[in-house]
Structures are given as structure tokens and as C-alpha cells.
Symmetry: C2
Subunit: 367 residues, 2 copies
């Protein structure tokens, strides 16, 4: 087991990364100090891991909520299902909540924990690559709105993150690839050495080589923990973690939640951000190709799916959280391994990127 | 104008108290730094003060939401109405929200501000005595759940509180009295001198003498600001501000939100807490009578309304936020002017208080 710490101004919490962590009773009970425990999970994860995880809390007042799978269920309605049960069962402010699943479950359960009685403790137990390397760490919680992704939420840190990498063996290929999009992101925005390592080891990662995956998860979490420690509330550098996300969120919202996976949308968005970076003179065309090649080797989509006009795309980008009063602000790359802080970009230029991406890629087929 | 500061670990914000503050353009714009402004108010307050307040933001992108009046509308559904509009109008993370109204509007708009894009700035403009002396200060925001009051919320501080005492002239007598319940609370839990001042000036307060009201609001806010500065997240002393509130919330939830005003429920709850304090040997019976006399002079109800059995009452108390894993915890008085930190109280004893209150008072009529 490898242990990292997320160091915040007023507290710190551990990330445990390793094999068979869900079997480690000492670890699984160390951060759950309450007699009242609720596990929030989904219909895909429950048959695989719920029994194993629940077994550690048999002596508690244990409640389980199993939601349908998918981004479409990361809603305030789902949060209300959690609140209803917590109140029906008279769960107090000392009760602990466990998020067992991918990014959707972690974001949703974390938001519910942030709001219930103005905040109860919760532990992240991420079961997808994407949630292990990104969404479970750092305390961003949220639910979606039909008009924008993650629009209602809270900065609310977990007590601990327990990333059992054994769960990656049951992940389908598409989910694995989606996680790799966020892994590649860390290389692009701040860690050239890691990007080069990924170029050397992508086939091993896709083949789920345990050593390669462990390195990728740990290095990603190190990067994430460092950025979050510097800037918990995203007043500066943390925004660079959103490379490709403004385009990506617009795709997710515009096509309907669940049509593309979040990681897939980020991969496509990353290439659009790279294109825009080159239009502004930062990246060479060769850099864009280098990024595209790595995404393709990770089995990620690299073309914009049909269904959104450039105008609709821009409309959805207009509600991004980085924007300021109608002015679009994006994360661009200075070079591979270094991102800019959010920059205002003229919408005409963004439209050029969108028009060319949609015109170029559509004839070749999409997702 | 009198100015107080709320001093927190990582920031401070002002409370402005005075006459005609809503006419003071410099003050009304000092804390509203955005081009995008939303005012949340209700159907009672809007005809009285919305035009005056809006006038300061004519050069902004101004949105107004007018909700129905009353505790029954402090819900997640109302919060969703705010989120919907913010997104439809593409309000960014720099947009400012104004809560113009009483405690319901302040708690609801504050919660919406806490959640929207994980937090946007907001300013409290309280228009009732209760919200000026209590709910607008200190950053507790929430919405109600059918099973419990304030069960979904956030600790989220406003940028500023602007308490225009002129608004108290339009308050109906019942709302004025409800505010006095929270004023009396400060005397009871930590400020004997203030309690004695209230005993000397209650008729002036009920007659809305501006000097007396100004003193009461300022002294209450001083007490509140001091307690919040010591314990923002309610790990200790802040819980004493909940004197009478566990009983009071049970009354509000049990009778249906809006059947009694929050301040009325707190008055009744305060007497129940005093009764329980005397059963535990802290207060003399003469102290209970002294408290009851002051509440009566404030035109507050002092008997438990019909509609709840002692068992139902206890059931609703079981979801209070101070409870720990099913054990009821209450704020009791050591003496007039000093409260205990939350204490576990055996439910049999609480039931004695409830049975005797319900048996004693019902024949004499209720609210």
C-alpha cells in the first residue's frame, strides 16, 4: 500500500493506494468513527464490491443506497433520496457516509455529505480509474443541472480516500480509457516527465499491467494533491486541472448526460484546447499530433461527435465556472508539460477551433 | 449607522445597523462588486422595499426572484428556482446574490449562494427583527426537509449584513414579537445585564421605540458576532445559541412549517428548556416565572399549542442536529445569563417536561 497526504491549510487527509485494500479491516474502519454508516453506491458496483465493503460495518447501524449507474443520475433528485433516508433513519451529524463507486457516486455522495446537517464526515472509496486519479481527491463535490455540469456543489474534503486498485480489473475498457484521459492531463499541464513516461508505457496501461497502473495512479494523485494543497478553492493554479473541461462539459451537457463519458469528453476537449493553444501561437502543430497519438493509443475518442453545431457548443460553454460575466475563460497549454492560468479568449477564435474540428472530423465518423 | 465586525479565522465582514440604510447608495454598492446581481425576496417584502433596493443596481444585469412568503417555502424546490434562473441568465461565479427579507429568505438565498458553482458572494439585507438580530449573522444557511428543519445547509458567510432598521416599522406585531424571542435568548444564555435591560425596556421595544430597538439589535448582534467568532462551525459554545430550538424545531416540523413562527416556537421551547433545567436542579421555579413574564410582556406565546402528543414531540426532537447517534442533546440554563454546552438528557426526563407542559397549558388555550 502506498500512502499520500493531501495537505490543506487547516487539515490533512490520507490517500491509500494499493491492491486488496477493501479486504483490510483495520484500514476500512480507521476513518469510520461512527455507529451510523451509510454507503452510497450504484447498480454496477454493488454486485461487485458492496458485500465486501459492508462486511466491515456489520456491527454498525448500516444503511445502503444503490442508485442507477451514470452521469444522468448525478442530480439534486438523487441527493434528495440520500437526505430522505438519512432523516428517516435519524442519522445524526456524527454519522459517516461512504462513496463506493466512480466519479458520479463520489461527487454526489460528497455533496450530500457536505449539505446534510451542514456537513457530516465522508470517505471516498473510488472504484474507477478516473475517480482514483482525479475526482475522489481534492474535495470538489457537485450535482449536475440540465443547463450545466457540476453547477450546484461544495468544496468539501473527505476524511480519507481508499483507492483499491483491484477494482480496476472489473472496469470495462471504455471506463479504463476514460480514466486515462485525466492521467494524461496531469502530464500535459504540469509534468512533462510523466507525459514522456506515459508515451513509453501506454500499451502496458491499456493491458492493465498492475505495476504500470500503480505508478500512473500514484503519480496522478501526487500531482492532484500538490495542486489542491496550493489552491484548495481554485483561485489560481487549481483551474489548470480543468484543461479540456470547458469544451468537455459543453459536450456532456449538450449531448445529454451519459452520451459520452466524462473522460471521453475531456479527451476531445483536450485536443480542442490544444488546437486553440496553437492558434494563439503557444503550441506547434506537431505538439497537437503528439497529444492526439497518445490519446488514440489510450483508446480515447479524438473527434467531436455529431449533434452539436459550433453555435450550440459555444452556448453551452457560456455557463462554465471559470467564465467571468459572460467572458469565456479557458485553460490553454503553453507547451506540453505546462498550462496557462485561465485566459480570456475571444469567442470568434474559439469558434474557428470548433468549426474546423466539426468540419474536419465529422466526415471521418465519430464516437 | 453603527458598524460591527464579525471576526473569523480567515476573514471578517461588517454588519451595518441603522436607519434608512437602503437609501445609502455608497453602502448599498460597496459590497456588490459584480455586474451580475440577483435579488431574492418574497411577496410581502417586494412591494415595500424592492424598488428602493433595486434602484442601486440599475446599471447591472439585475435579476429578481420573488417567492411566496413563509417557512413552508424554505425548500430545495425554492433553491432550484434560484439555480434555474442563475443558469438561464448565465450568471458566473463572480455574480452577487442579495437576500432581501426575513430569516426564510436569508437562509434559502444563502444556501443557494453557497451551492451555486460551489459558492458565489452574497449580502444579507434582513428586513425583520428576527433576521436582523440572529439569522442574518453568522453564516448558517439551510433549507427544510419535511422530516426536519434546516436539515440541508452549509456554513457560508455573507460578504456583509446591511440591517436597515427602518424596515421594522412595517413589520406586523406578531413578527416583531417573534424577533424579541431571539433577543431575549442572548440575555438568557450569556448576558445577564442585557436580560435586565430587557426587563426594564420591554414596553419601549414593543412600542417600537427606535432608540430601544437600536440598542437591542446592536447588543444582540454583538453577542452573536462574538459567539460566531469563537466557534464558527459550532463545535462548542455556538450551540448555546440553540437554547429552546430543539423543542422549537420539533414544534415547527410537527405542526407543519408556518403554523407557528420560528420565534414563537423558540419562545415556547425556551420555557420548556427552562422547565427541564429546573428539573435537573439548575434553575429555581422563580427563574422560570421570571422568564415567562418577560416573554408574555413581549407578546409571545408561552404555552404549547395543541396538535402534538409528547411522543410525537420527542420523535421530532430525535432528528435535531445536536444529537449524537440517537442520544438527545439539549441546551439548558445554569442560571439566567449562562447556558450549558449541549448536554445529553435522558428522554424520560424530557417527556416529564412535555407531559406537564401539555397537560398544564392546553386547558388554558393555546396560540
Amino acid at each position: 500500500m502506498r500512502n499520500l497526504m493531501v495537505e490543506l491549510a487547516d487539515r490533512r487527509y490520507p490517500i491509500a493506494i494499493g491492491q486488496h485494500l477493501f479486504d483490510d479491516h483495520a484500514l476500512m474502519t480507521r476513518h469510520i468513527a461512527s455507529r451510523q454508516v451509510m454507503i452510497v453506491t450504484n447498480e454496477v458496483v454493488a454486485p461487485l464490491y458492496l458485500a465486501k465493503v459492508s462486511a466491515h460495518y456489520e456491527d454498525r447501524q448500516l444503511e445502503v443506497i444503490i442508485l442507477p449507474d451514470g452521469e444522468a443520475f448525478k442530480t439534486m433528485d438523487s441527493a434528495m433520496i440520500i437526505f430522505d433516508r438519512l432523516l428517516q433513519k435519524k442519522f445524526s451529524r456524527t454519522a459517516h457516509l461512504i462513496a463506493l463507486g466512480g466519479g458520479v457516486i463520489g461527487d454526489l455522495a460528497g455533496f450530500a455529505a457536505a449539505c446534510y446537517q451542514r456537513g457530516i464526515p465522508f470517505v471516498q472509496m473510488p472504484t474507477t480509474l478516473l475517480s482514483q486519479v482525479d475526482s475522489s481527491v481534492g474535495g470538489k463535490t457537485a450535482v449536475n443541472h440540465p443547463l450545466g455540469k457540476n453547477m450546484m456543489g461544495a468544496f468539501y474534503q473527505p476524511k480519507a480516500v481508499i483507492a483499491d486498485m483491484t477494482t480496476l480489473s472489473t472496469l470495462n475498457d471504455r471506463e479504463l480509457a476514460a480514466g486515462l484521459a485525466e492521467v494524461i492531463k496531469y502530464g500535459l499541464i504540469r509534468d512533462l516527465e510523466f507525459f514522456e513516461w506515459l508515451e513509453a508505457h501506454m500499451e502496458a496501461l491499456v493491458a492493465r499491467d498492475p505495476e504500470a497502473l500503480a505508478t500512473a495512479v500514484e503519480r496522478s494523485c501526487q500531482n492532484k494533491a500538490m495542486v489542491v494543497a496550493l489552491d484548495e478553492r481554485e483561485t489560481g493554479e487549481r483551474a489548470t486541472l480543468n484543461l479540456g473541461h470547458t469544451f468537455g462539459h459543453a459536450l456532456e451537457t449538450g449531448l445529454g448526460y451519459g452520451a459520452v463519458l466524462h473522460g471521453e469528453a475531456v479527451a476531445i476537449g483536450t485536443l480542442l484546447a490544444a488546437d486553440l493553444s496553437s492558434r494563439l501561437g503557444y503550441l506547434e502543430v506537431a505538439d497537437i499530433d503528439r497529444i492526439r497519438r497518445l490519446l488514440i493509443r489510450a483508446h480515447l475518442p479524438t473527434t467531436v461527435p455529431e449533434g452539436l453545431s459550433p453555435e450550440e457548443f459555444l452556448e453551452h460553454m457560456a455557463v462554465d465556472k471559470k467564465n467571468v460575466e459572460g467572458q469565456l475563460r479557458l485553460i490553454l497549454l503553453k507547451r506540453i508539460g505546462e498550462a496557462h492560468l485561465p485566459m480570456s479568449v475571444e469567442s470568434g477564435l474559439i469558434k474557428q477551433t470548433l468549426v474546423s474540428a466539426i468540419a474536419l472530423h465529422r466526415p471521418q465518423g465519430s464516437l
